[in-house]
């Protein structure tokens, strides 16, 4: 089989989370879901707070990574995801995510009470992140 894999690197300020080849990368940009194969048109895209799924051509299970925003830089041969934080599904601390979810929900309730739009927006982002982590970890 022709080599259809390309290198995927996921970098965060706290280290490289993932650095392996994959055959397909599925992500959700701010516009919608899309998949990348080798030799896809080069693209730079902003990512949503969601999962990045890496397929390995039937060998082993997909690798699922929870990313908190960031962007992807793909030149056809090599994909680099640069995000503030990213976690492999297997490494997510479910309890911490649960706590974060509870805290975010409390903050939302509080912000709504005080009509603080800023705080509300921030808490909603926190909630989205926590939910994303929980969802991704549940898939593994």
């Amino acid at each position: 089989m022709a080599d259809s894999t390309f290198d995927v690197t996921i970098v965060t300020p706290d280290g490289t989370v993932y650095n392996h080849p994959a055959t397909m990368l599925i992500m959700k940009t701010s516009e919608g879901q899309m998949g990348l194969l080798k030799n896809h048109q080069p693209i730079i895209a902003a990512l949503a707070i969601d999962e990045v799924r890496l397929k390995h051509d039937g060998e082993g299970a997909d690798t699922v990574v929870a990313v908190n925003g960031g962007f992807i830089d793909f030149d056809g041969q090599k994909a680099t995801v640069v995000a503030g934080s990213a976690e492999l599904a297997g490494k997510i601390d479910v309890k911490r995510a649960q706590d974060a979810k509870t805290r975010a929900e409390e903050a939302i309730a509080h912000a709504k009470q005080e009509h603080n739009a800023d705080e509300l927006a921030r808490a909603e982002v926190h909630l989205a992140r926590a939910l994303n982590r929980l969802r991704v970890s549940g898939q593994q």
Binding site: P13, Q41, I43, I44
Partner: protein, 306 residues
Amino acid sequence: MPASLAAVKRRLESTRNTRQITSAMQMVSTAKLNQIQGHIKTYEDYAARVKSVLASLVKSHNATLKNGVSDDKDHLGTLFTKRPVKKTGILVVTSDRGLVGSYNSNVIKATLDRMKKEGLTKENTVFLTVGRTGTEFFKKRGMNVVFESTGISDVPTYREVHGIVRGAVKMYADGIYDQLYLAYSHYVNRIVSHDRVELALPISAESLAMHEDHASKGPIGAEYDLEPDLSELISKLVPQFAESLIYGAILDAKTSEHASSANAMSSASDNADEIISTLQLQYNRARQAAITTEITEITGGMTAQE
């Protein structure tokens, strides 16, 4: 030397104990320094990628502007735009604890010098402080500390300082201040640190251009798909870049803190060594004197008995 044997011995032992503690602390600081240096490498990798992509986006943005509409930088968003400065924010990074030599006082002094130079006063400056020493210093002087953060771990993770980093960028965007300085100690090597007070926001064209040499790419070519469009992508990337800058400053300061703590502890150990050798000499002399006196007494007694 008149000091009594027991007194000298006690001092000698307590100095030895102190020396043991300082040399242990030196080793701890050195270990932390090594640890954080490993972490810095991964951060630099991240920061370099953010910078290079943003720089190429901005370049192609400027290129399209020249071909088309007016040369208006406002498209790049608030973080780039210079606006009249009414309030200044200063983010000061100091340590939580002492025993770090002149680390804290140097940073604070550099901050105050810069304030004087720029004509900043209590009234038109707000402070964001990381570390207890700086927080207490500025609060005690009645300065306006709007954000404080203490108890940051020895090797701060991005997640840990995300609050203050986000807050700093957001307060700028919200207009709480119109420019942001970062005051921290820049780590040069294990012996040398430089105090830096630098303008972080608004992002200057130079700070991006500075990194163009490292960026492998020029303006992003037409073959690139951009999603969403260029200016929106830039507006999403710019905060990420600003946050990575501030996080970098905090990391840099922490590194420098460990280095100066290791230095302070090593010179404390050296001093202790010096004191120990002086005391040891005193102790030996006092002991010798005691022995001599004893012998004189014994021989004196013997002579008396004969």
